[in-house]
Amino acid sequence: MYKIDTQNVDFYYGDFHALKNISMQISPNTSVAFIGPSGCGKSTFLRLFNRMNDLIPGTKLEGKIYIDERNIYDKSENVDRLRKNVGMVFQKPNPFPKTIFENVAYGLRVNGVKDQSYIEETVVKTLQQVVLWDEVKDKLKESAFALSGGQQQRLCIARALAISPSILLMDEPTSALDPISTGKIEDLIHQLKEQYTIVIVTHNMQQAARVSDKTGYFYLGELIEYGDTRKIFTNPEKESTQNYITGRFG
């Protein structure tokens, strides 16, 4: 059984054909990296999994996307519940202008959790999970904006994990961070893939090699190659993949 199963997906921004006939299967508790040059469609493809592309007017989807064997674009699908199950971390850290505590509690509150002791427990647990607890335990009531960029991004990961998703989407989560913060996030991804299915879009080839079990290479809206990360980076089948990962273009 696949965690995410896409079948013949085509996607359009107005007249622009952004994704071309993409079929991809992702197994549970694996981490998958999407690589490819800017504008290749990898972020667009990622945002289909939690239907964030719905927010852009004038888009059109063809084909089927199943998560846990449910067609997530079916009319009966509850988008809010889907997004609760499919968490997302964005390119730029975007904590809310609230306290550190309230940032993590936010997802619980909007999903109707009232039990204060459960909320407190979850906030502590998830902050420990993203290895931020020791740094913030004395300032939970302070603004999240007071944290550094790397801390903010870990806070955003904690915020996503607090509502117990089974899938975590990460859209270039370290592109705005320094190398040390990047290292911390990558360590975190390593731990998280034991419990979650992780899909990460990255421009950083070493990062893809370090954190993912499988890699998909996208070019001009097509999925050129998809397979074990080790194989993609050592012995790719397609010349285009070879050229990209060796830095000949991109």
Partner: protein, 296 residues
């Protein structure tokens, strides 16, 4: 083509001089604006401060409005500001939220926006006339606080809508996306994330509208303002006095215009002071909420 070092220096000097001259001119102009403002304020203060006293602020006009105070007019203006705000703030804020967050039909939005802009361009005396026809006569409120408040609310609505819309627009989409991605509904996102962030800017708009409403004369002329009314209004269906109209009356059609000249400047000073206090209050509120938004 080569430029000699000497020529290059000359060009640099010329660029520098031009830049300095232009900025000096700009600076001069902006100081002029400030100077004009202070001149007006100074003029009103010097002419009006003499009549300001406790009695002036707490007593009704006496002796054909050449003596006594302006208490009923102060209270009337406060009632009208309060009344019109109660009507225009909720409607305006909700419309602004709808236009920026919910409406998806681009053509419809553009149409509404053009219409609200046109509405804000309508001369205030026309609002007064319309208010008289609709609220005073057709709806039968008569000359009353409710009719005046409704008319003033219509006048200030475009400003409230527009500033709410702009304030919501200035909140970066990444916050909306962050909230939606956590399974929050659009309404939860607006209420818990967008509105608190937009609130300091919305308040600015509301205060600007209060400033405008408290100074308007024409819209209240046919709908509520009384020439002279020694007692305070008993209900929202009564007439009341109001500062701007009172100023107009004692400057142009009082029983003894020369004798009430001092009263006129005093009235103007009180009006300006009220608007100034409201503005300062708004700034304080704005700072307070801007801080609060970051902390909660």
């Amino acid at each position: 083509m080569m430029i000699s070092e000497q020529e290059e220096l000359k060009i640099d000097a010329r660029k520098n001089t031009t830049q300095r001259a232009v900025f000096a001119f700009f600076t001069f102009l902006s100081y002029c604006v400030v100077a004009i403002l202070f001149t007006i304020l100074g003029f009103i203060i010097i002419k009006g401060i003499g009549v300001i006293s406790w009695d002036f602020l707490t007593k009704a006009p006496e002796e054909g409005m050449t003596e006594g105070g302006i208490y009923p007019a102060i209270v009337g203006t406060l009632y009208l500001v309060l009344g019109s705000s109660l009507i225009s703030f909720p409607i305006g804020i909700m419309s602004g939220i709808y236009m920026n967050e919910y409406a998806t039909n681009g053509k419809l939005i553009r149409f509404i926006r053009i219409m609200t802009n046109n509405l804000s361009g309508v001369p205030s005396v026309v609002f007064g006339l319309f208010g008289m026809a609709l609220f005073v006569n057709t709806m039968g409120f008569g000359d009353s606080i409710i009719a005046g408040s409704l008319t003033l609310a219509l006048l200030s609505l475009p400003l409230v809508i527009r500033t709410t819309e702009e304030a919501m627009k200035s909140v970066d989409d990444s916050y909306r996306h962050g909230s939606l991605a956590l399974g929050a509904t659009k309404l939860q996102t607006i209420r818990r994330v967008v509105l608190p962030m937009a609130f300091p800017n919305i308040i600015t708009g509301l205060i600007l509208s209060v400033g405008r409403v408290s100074g308007e004369t024409a819209p209240i002329l046919f709908t509520v303002a009384a020439y002279f009314l020694p007692q305070l209004p008993g209900s929202i269906f009564d007439q009341c006095m109001a500062l701007p109209y009172h100023l107009y009356v004692i400057s142009t059609s009082g029983t003894d215009i020369e004798a009430s000249r001092g009263m006129a400047y005093g009235t103007a000073l009180v009006l300006v002071a009220i608007i100034l206090i409201v503005n300062l209050l708004a700034n304080a509120l704005r700072t307070y909420f801007a801080k609060k938004v970051k902390m909660n």
